[in-house]
Structures are given as structure tokens and as C-alpha cells.
Amino acid sequence: MRVFEKNPLEKGLAERLREHGVSRRGFLKFCAATASMMALPPAMIPAIAAALERARRPSVIWLSFQECTGCTESLTRSHAPTVEDLILDLISLDYHHTLQAAAGEAAEAAREQAMRDNHGQYLLIVDGSLPGPDANPGYSTIAGVSNYSMLMEAVEGAAAVIAVGTCAAFGGLPAAAPNPTGAVSVMDLVKDKPVVNVSGCPPVPMVITGVLAHFLTFGRLPELDEYHRPLAFFGQSIHDRCYRRPFYDKGLFAETFDDAGARAGWCLYRLGCKGPSTYNACATMRWNAGTSWPIEAGHPCLGCAEPRFWDAGGFYVPLSVPTGPASDYLLAAGAVGAVAGAVVATKARGRAKEEAAVRQPVTVEELEQKL
């Protein structure tokens, strides 16, 4: 997947930065931040520097379908690299509804131009789910074209597809039961191109930029887990990396919001934390330039990076609690069973009673007399 062959005249990143007056130290620092962002060990920094020396701006086409723009908003919160560095120095963001200047026909023309010029080499980013091929195409259109047609057309010339956010990656909210619009994920439709899923509702900003930086640096996609998520960020569960984990181990739990345990930062398992079954980087990268993350701010993890998290049980119900009304079943079945048992037993008892009724008690004396 070599995408950097197109324009040999274009300058490498180091040179571009130097032209902006960025020193070599600045470049090295940029590489250090990039390593940190890609969750790579600092020992990789020289390799990253060497790769970025040559890196050119790949064309990126960003399609938004059934989405809420939360993923784009999240992207703009990235502080390393910043979104302005990203769009001015690192990538060429050739189509993006929320940020691009052009509208209407001009916007579509920009997309088509970029697809032609970079055929086979552009990165396609998708946020939002889309109505599947069997759903009514009118549920979501852009420029009069159904999302499905637009995706398939854009995928054709893409080097790779990055599904940003849980909706694009797994169907997300639109696909939550009862999935009124027949929403599907990108991976459901794209079979012949590499797909990376950057899940999260929204994803951690640095995870989005981290995947882009990885592609930019090494010209290929990072190593993925079974859900096609980059292992560097989704390799470990929230629970395993949670700073409150020692409290879980000690058996110290907040029982409600704002009790003494909550104030002391005890484990939120009993308040419904889905950290144990959720794989994401919140616990280490945190949010908004390291300001905080949901668990640090006292709220249990919603599990938003996992498939079907919307249907995986109440957000305030502990992970070990069944999702259905099991206690109703327990009661009802128990009652039915009890009645059945009682009926059977009563019948047996009836026989015993009958026997008892014809019983003729004898005393020892009577017995002796009879004998």
C-alpha cells in the first residue's frame, strides 16, 4: 500500500516543517509526540523520524453518513498533532463536510477530483453508519445520492478505509435495537479493501490522529485486533489500565454517586462500569489534552468502543447482571414449579391419607390380646 509515489516533487514533512521555521529539535519533539500518540515505545523515535523525513501528504476523503458529527468534533480536540497541523501539514483533507469551504456541486466536484487524482492511493475515512443495500436508500442521501452508492463508489479507488467511531465501525446508535433504518457498518459492506475500525462514541481524538500518523509514517495500517481495531490503542481493557483498579481488587466500591466511596475514587463496578469488557485507550491517553476521562470524573464507563454497547444492558447496571428480566422469570417459573410440585405431592399425599383413613390403630395391649 504505497501511497506516496504520486508527486515526487512534493516535499517531505521534515523539509516542510523546516520551511515554517521549525528546527531539528522541534522535528524530533514532533516525532516524540507522534510516538506517544501512536502508543509506540520511545525507542521507536529514530525510526519514526526517519520515516517522517520522507512522508508526503496523502489525500484523505472523509465521508459522513448517519452520524452526529461527534467524531469530527473529537478530531478537532486532538492536541498532538493539532487539527490545524493535520490539515495543513500532514494530510490533504480533500472532502469533509464540516470543515471544507466548498458546498453543493463545488464540494462534490472537489471529492471527484481528489478521487481521480489519487486513484488507488487515497485514504477513505467514514463516520456514521449507513442504511444497508436492502434498506430504503432515501433514509440517507447526499447530493441526491444514497449513502450506499457513495460509499461503494469511493471505496473503489481507496488504498484503505478507516471507519471512525462506533457507528461506522459497528453500526453504533442507528443500528441499536430495533434498527429503524436498517443501518449497517462499513465492514459489513467493504470486503475487498483493508478496513481499520477506530471505535468509540466518539473515539479518543489521539486515537484517530494516531492511526493517521501511523499510515503517514509507515505507509501502511497498524496491527489490528479481531474487530479490526488498532491493537496499540485497543489491546487492553479500560479495567486493566484503570487507576481505580486497586480499589476493585480490595473490594472497595462506590455504591452511589456522591457517597464517601465515590469521593475517595473507589471502583465504579457496582454503578455499572463496563470497563472490564471495554477495550479502549481512555485510561492511558485520557481526554482533552490529558484533562480527565469519564471514570476520573466519577461516571462509569459506558463501554462505547464495543460492538452493540447500546444493547448490552443498562448503563448503571453492573456488568454481571443479566440483561433480561431474569428475576421475573425466576419468580414466575418458581411459582409454576412450586404449584406443579405441590400438585404432585398432594396427590401422593391424598393416597397416603386414604391409607391413613382405613388405618386401624392398635395398642400394644390389643395386639397382645389378639395374639
Binding site: 485486533d225 479481531e226 481493557s237 479495567h239 486493566d240 476493585y248 481488587d249 480490595k250 473490594g251 466500591f253 463496578y269 457496582r270 472490564p276 469488557s277 477495550y279 464495543e306 460492538p307 452493540r308 454497547f309 444493547d311 448490552a312 444492558g313 447496571v317 453492573p318 456488568l319 454481571s320 447482571v321 443479566p322 440483561t323 433480561g324 428480566p325 431474569a326 428475576s327 422469570y329 425466576l330 419468580l331 414466575a332 417459573a333 418458581g334 411459582a335 409454576v336 414449579g337 412450586a338 404449584v339 406443579a340 410440585g341 405441590a342 404432585v344 405431592a345 398432594t346 401422593a348 399425599r349 397416603a352 391413613a356 388405618r359 390403630p361
Partner: protein, 220 residues
């Protein structure tokens, strides 16, 4: 079911409902049958109370008498170990307490997880020892039925899957947790129909025994 999350949701939802239903139906029927039936009437004149001896037997039978202990110390100690271990992990692991609370509305304090983890490990070792003993002891091997092995396997898998899930030896976690829940569900479903029923009937039986002896004026 290729997706671990789908699998977990299946075990936490429909399968759990099914398991609980079968379990409650079977168990309630059996217990009610026992209670309503009562014992065969004893028409002889009572020579002592029933209640106190009944209760006492519930307690005393829980401890092996010196004779039994001497004859089969291994059975007694190891049996005790894993029964106790099973109960502790079942009733004092916080996620289990949360589950019970959601089902019955009852809740109590739990134990720190490392304690439960250690107890689980000991339970597993004791269970393996029990199996080895059953296979190597000539008499025991003779009297063992397929049901005995089935029940052993279910108990062992249940504890083992819990141990693996907690220690995150199987990944991803939704798969591990789903497997553990599935084991628990199989366990619940067969419980009313195998010797596992003793979990609920053992004390009734002991009470009946004690009461019956008590009525006869005998101390058991």
C-alpha cells in the same frame, strides 16, 4: 456465534432467562414435593421433640464424626475445602453479589477479590484432587456413575471459567465472561435433575433425619 460481544449478550440475555426458568421450575417442584409430601407418617408415640434434634443434626452432620474422619480423612478435608471454596466464591465475590441483588433484591458485604481469587485456586486444586482420588480409589471407582463425572465436570468448568475470566487468561473478556456465564447456565439447568440438588435439599434431609431420630428419643 463469531462475535464475542454477541455471545456475551446471548448468555446474559435469553440463555440466562432460559436457565433461570428451568432451574426455578425444577427446583421449586422438587422442594415443594418434598415439603408437601413430608415424611411417611410415623404413628408411634413421640418420645421426644423434633425441632431441636432436627436443627442439631443439621449442624452435627456437617462435621464428620471421628470414625469417618479416621477411615477417610482425604474425603473429609478435600471435600470440605472445595465445598467451602465454592460457597465463598459464589456468595462473596462482588460481581456475584451484584447479580444476586438484581435477582432477589438481597445484598451483603463481599470479600476482597484477591481473597476470592486465592480461594478459587484452592478450590480448583481440591476439585482435581477429588477426581484423582475417585479414579485411583478402587472402591470409589467402582461405585462412580456417569452422573458423578458429569457433575464433577460441570462444577470444575464453572469454577475454572470464572478463574480464567477473572485473571483474564482467556481474551477478549466478553468471550471469557460469556463462557463462565454459559457454564453457570448449564449448571443451573441440570441442578434440579442431578445430585446437585443436594445444594438445596441437604439441610432438609438432615433436618428430617434429626427430627425423626428425635421423635424416637434418639440422638443422632
Amino acid at each position: 456465534m463469531s462475535d464475542p460481544m454477541d455471545f456475551l449478550l446471548l448468555t446474559k440475555g435469553p440463555l440466562f432467562n432460559l436457565a433461570v426458568t428451568v432451574f426455578a421450575l425444577g427446583m421449586a417442584a422438587r422442594i415443594l414435593e418434598i415439603l408437601v409430601n413430608g415424611r411417611r407418617p410415623n404413628y408411634s408415640e413421640a418420645r421426644g421433640g423434633q425441632w431441636l434434634p432436627g436443627l442439631r443434626t443439621v449442624l452435627t452432620r456437617s462435621v464428620a464424626d471421628p470414625g469417618t474422619f479416621k477411615r477417610a480423612p482425604f474425603n473429609v478435608v478435600v471435600g470440605w475445602l472445595w465445598h467451602l471454596g465454592f460457597i465463598v466464591t459464589l456468595l462473596f465475590f462482588i460481581p456475584h453479589i451484584a447479580l444476586i441483588k438484581s435477582l432477589l433484591g438481597l445484598s451483603w458485604p463481599g470479600l476482597p477479590n484477591p481473597v476470592v481469587d486465592l480461594v478459587t485456586a484452592v478450590t480448583l486444586v481440591a476439585l482435581v484432587a477429588t477426581l484423582v482420588h475417585r479414579r485411583t480409589h478402587r472402591v470409589k471407582r467402582r461405585i462412580s456413575t456417569p452422573e458423578d463425572y458429569l457433575v464433577w465436570t460441570l462444577v470444575f468448568l464453572l469454577v475454572l471459567s470464572g478463574y480464567l475470566a477473572y485473571n483474564r487468561i482467556i481474551n477478549p473478556y466478553p468471550l471469557a465472561l460469556g463462557l463462565h456465564i454459559l457454564c453457570a447456565e448449564v449448571f443451573l439447568i441440570v441442578l434440579p435433575f442431578t445430585k446437585l440438588t443436594h445444594i438445596f435439599t441437604v439441610f432438609i434431609a438432615r433436618w428430617y433425619n434429626g427430627a425423626s431420630f428425635g421423635r424416637r428419643g434418639v440422638e443422632s
